[in-house]
Symmetry: C2
Subunit: 208 residues, 2 copies
DNA sequence: CCGCTCTTTTGTGCATACATTCGCGTGAGA
DNA sequence: TCTCACGCGAATGTATGCACAAAAGAGCGG
């Protein structure tokens, strides 16, 4: 693995995990020493992070980890809503029914998973597989990559919100509604169900 | 200005203008000599271009200018549709009416510009100012920057389509419909008018 | 005592030298 | 003649040195 990749991956993970909080100044020499790489690959890593808007201020003196304020959460969700809605719509249009029928069966009993830590892990894995299935079904690589950029920032703010069991149970139902619409090939319904899910997710974040 | 910025700007412009056609292999030494910078800033420029998906294959042997096939045009417009629709919706919600009333007056006589080259230049400038006004009115910097990424690729394929006067006249009317909806604060109408405009734009591209 | 300027220092931007890896061609052996 | 392996070369990946610029601190003047 290349040194620039290691530096990029390490910094990215540490920013997403909050180990490098918003506002942290990343000096080149300091970070290159800390990560055990030279300045050249580290600079490449910082350039990549800057292009993802995870750090900013590359021109001037050092780069700073960008902040995740509540206004940015709203902005993020306005973009996310537009893209996930389109993704659901396209997925309903182009999906392989068998794939989503399988997910449908799994989600029907998903609420049973929410009791234990192991179950919670499996639930998150299930949601991940649903996202992947929708991405795949859109048949639109550009949409998927654009969405990935949004989800990166969502992952950062997820740390700020509480995952209480009631919300997770509701979310499971909302996911199931989306799947049902996709299975039936109902494009508008899939879009609207997605809108509902994201609206409630955002509400859960901002009120916590 | 920094050398890496010059290399980035130059390469970006040459790719968008088609001077560096899709499939062109960009070797580091070759390009660094050609642009008169050393390999270090050139690599940074290539990294940035790769993050915009203007070049690909950064891991491996050399980078290649990405292609702009017809499938990618469809993918691009599916994303663009979602984002511009959301932008129009938000603009209708948050706009300063005076700004769009001014654009409204200008667009009402825009068809008169389409006769001469100078008029055409002013027309494109007018469309540009409309896009800027909508971006501004959304109050969502993240949406604007995401849209900018899409528009970058749109600019590349615009070279492939013909701008015949009839299409431009229709487009002017469609723009005016969008502006009318924004002035009236009609969110859904603005979104639908945008959808119509993009549908026709895409149709004009793929049939030419 | 405060402010301004000059100096020092630290850090970034760039260039170049070195290391490494990948591809390709050539040659030998089956 | 075909295939595989070895070696050479070129291009990429990495490290480091140098130069410049900006920020911080100290000294001087008001």
């Amino acid at each position: 693995m290349r040194a620039s990749d290691r530096a990029y991956t390490a910094l990215r993970e540490q920013i997403l995990d909050g180990d490098l909080p918003a506002g942290t100044v990343l000096a080149e020499v300091e970070q290159s020493v800390r990560l055990g790489v030279s300045r050249t690959p580290l600079r490449e890593a910082l350039t990549r992070l800057a292009s993802e808007s995870l750090v900013s201020g590359h021109s001037g003196r050092g780069v700073v980890v960008t902040d995740v304020s509540i206004e940015r959460v709203n902005e993020l969700f306005e973009v996310r809503q537009a893209l996930e809605e389109q993704a659901a719509r396209l997925a309903a249009r182009r999906r392989d029914p068998a794939v989503f029928q399988h997910l449908q069966r799994e989600f029907r009993t998903a609420h049973e998973l929410l009791g234990t830590d192991e179950g919670l892990r499996r639930y998150y894995d299930l949601v991940q597989r649903l996202d992947d299935a929708i991405d795949e079904a859109t048949g639109n690589a550009f949409l998927v990559s654009t969405l990935a950029g949004v989800r990166t920032h969502i992952a950062r703010i997820r740390r700020l919100s509480s995952d209480n069991p009631d919300r997770l149970r509701d979310a499971a139902r909302e996911h199931l509604a989306i799947i049902d619409a996709i299975v039936d090939g109902e494009e508008s319904l899939a879009a609207h169900a997605t809108q509902l899910h994201l609206y409630r997710s955002l509400k859960n974040i901002v009120t916590s």
